[in-house]
């Protein structure tokens, strides 16, 4: 029901300790890499590498399944539908009228499903090894305006709070005889007015209080604000960065400069 609103899992693995900037860059590069690589076998190698990171980061099975559940469904869809929309190539497995299922079609489906899984998993690794405030801190250090960074972290911070408020509001209305899962679709959406209005009102009240709290702590008093916790790259961070850049650059150069299929 409540699920995991924040995917972050505390830990002490090297992935947890890595500088968030390195992690953000690494995730971006691995994302691009998954798009550059086209060979099924190479994609599987990439996936194996990403899964190794997952294991090294001590991801829990329950949380990983929760995070990737939707992706698994999308993967199945891709694998089923891909061959129908890419009927080119040989050998042909099966033909019926204009529809034909070919080996490249099937393999393409599998490759793209793996690609999706790579993308999702790599972002999941960032989310579960990095506290949200560290992600935001990293983004700000990478050049995001502090205001936007703060807005982002406040938004993320309040998601679970509003989730809880909404549950409480739903309970309050159920205690007044409102039934959410009864009646026609229109009836049901109308019922949600009784939840949405108090939720919005409570969100506005919270925002109002929050802005006062920020002002009373001299938010925006100086443009050149200082930070309590400075991020500092360690030796291992540089090594990790170099490795990821290498892992990205070599296949990319191979594909686009040397024209080698990867």
């Amino acid at each position: 029901m409540s699920g995991f609103v924040d995917l972050y899992t505390e830990g002490k693995t090297f992935l947890h300790r890595m500088d968030p900037r390195v992690k953000i860059i690494a995730v971006l590069l691995l994302t691009l890499l998954a798009l550059v690589v086209r060979d099924l076998f190479h994609l599987m190698v990439l996936l194996a590498f990403i899964f190794l990171l997952l294991v090294l980061g001590k991801a829990t099975l329950a949380k990983t399944y929760f995070a990737l559940k939707m992706v698994l469904r999308v993967m199945v869809m891709i694998m089923i539908l891909w061959p129908f929309f890419n009927p080119g190539g040989t050998p042909v497995f099966w033909t019926y009228g204009p529809i034909s299922i070919t080996q490249p079609g099937v393999l393409g489906g599998i490759a793209n499903a793996i690609r999706i899984l790579c993308l999702a998993t790599v972002w999941y690794i960032l989310m579960f090894t990095t506290a949200q405030r560290d992600i935001v801190r990293g983004l700000v250090k990478l050049g995001l305006r502090f205001d936007f960074g703060l807005t982002l972290s406040i938004a993320l911070r309040f998601l679970p709070t509003f989730g809880a408020t909404m549950e409480s509001i739903k309970d309050a209305q159920r205690a007044r005889g409102l039934e959410f899962d009864k009646g026609s679709l229109i009836r049901r959406s109308k019922n949600y007015v009784a939840v949405l209005v108090p939720t919005i009102v409570s969100a506005l009240r919270t925002a109002d209080t929050l802005s006062l709290a920020l002002q009373s702590r001299a938010y925006g008093a100086r443009a050149d604000r200082t930070y309590l916790r400075e991020l500092k790259m360690k030796g291992s961070d540089f090594v990790a960065l170099a490795l990821v850049v290498g892992a990205f650059v070599i296949p990319t150069v191979a594909r686009f400069v040397l024209k080698v299929p990867v």
């Binding site: 409540s2 409480s168 309970d171 309050a172 205690a175 007044r176 108090p198």
Partner: protein, 273 residues
Amino acid sequence: MVLAEGIKYVYEGGVEAIGGVDLRIRKGEYIAIVGGNGSGKTTLAKNLNGLLRPTSGHVAIAGRSAAGMTVAELARFVGYAFQNPDHQLFSSTVEEEVRFGPRSLGYPDPEVTKKVEHALEVMDLKGVRDSPPLTLSLSYRRRVSIASVIAMDPQVIILDEPTTGLDAKDIDVLMQYIDILNREGHTLILITHDMRLVAEHARRVLVMAAGRILLDSDPRGSFSDLDLLKQSNLEPPPVTLLAHRLSRFDIPSDIFSPEELASAIVEKVRGGR
């Protein structure tokens, strides 16, 4: 009216909020459930109106097992006013807000109007019936939220921390209206940690700590055991503490109003002469 047998409730994630509570509430009682934060007061109350279903044990309302009834069906018998009125107010006028409950329960229109008028009357809201509830002061918003529960005409009314955030005058006014409900025959369950409120209004007190009922007695009895109150993070009124300190002069320790203490001392002094 309400019967709970051996109910336990464990939240998702394994926190046991109540562990084995037996409770029998008769019609017309005026009960206060007291206890510190996290003692299980609210969880217990939510188990009585079906918002939470006991992990084990069972609840019966008006002789029927609650397990077979939906929250909406239970709402006819057990009304629940939440601590934060802003969690239920959404209509554009007070009157509409109060109408919402009985209409959801499917009462015919004339019946709804009758119940709404009565609820507005009891909570003294007739003067603001056309105002938008969210623009009213907290004291009024709380009264609107309570009125919207009364309007469903439940036999049992649970009020979760109805006095939080109100000043002394507002509390007096509100409690006066709440007392009327009990006189009309409603069974009242007050969730609070204000011991003065308990002393002045309730007739039966359940002291809770760590998910269990430590004591079930009249308010007087609940004040005589200071250690027990401490165990449940409660602070008795100052006059009771004073009476406890004076107990070596044979002053009774279950006192909870200054008048009582004064007359006990006067009697003592006269008697000793």
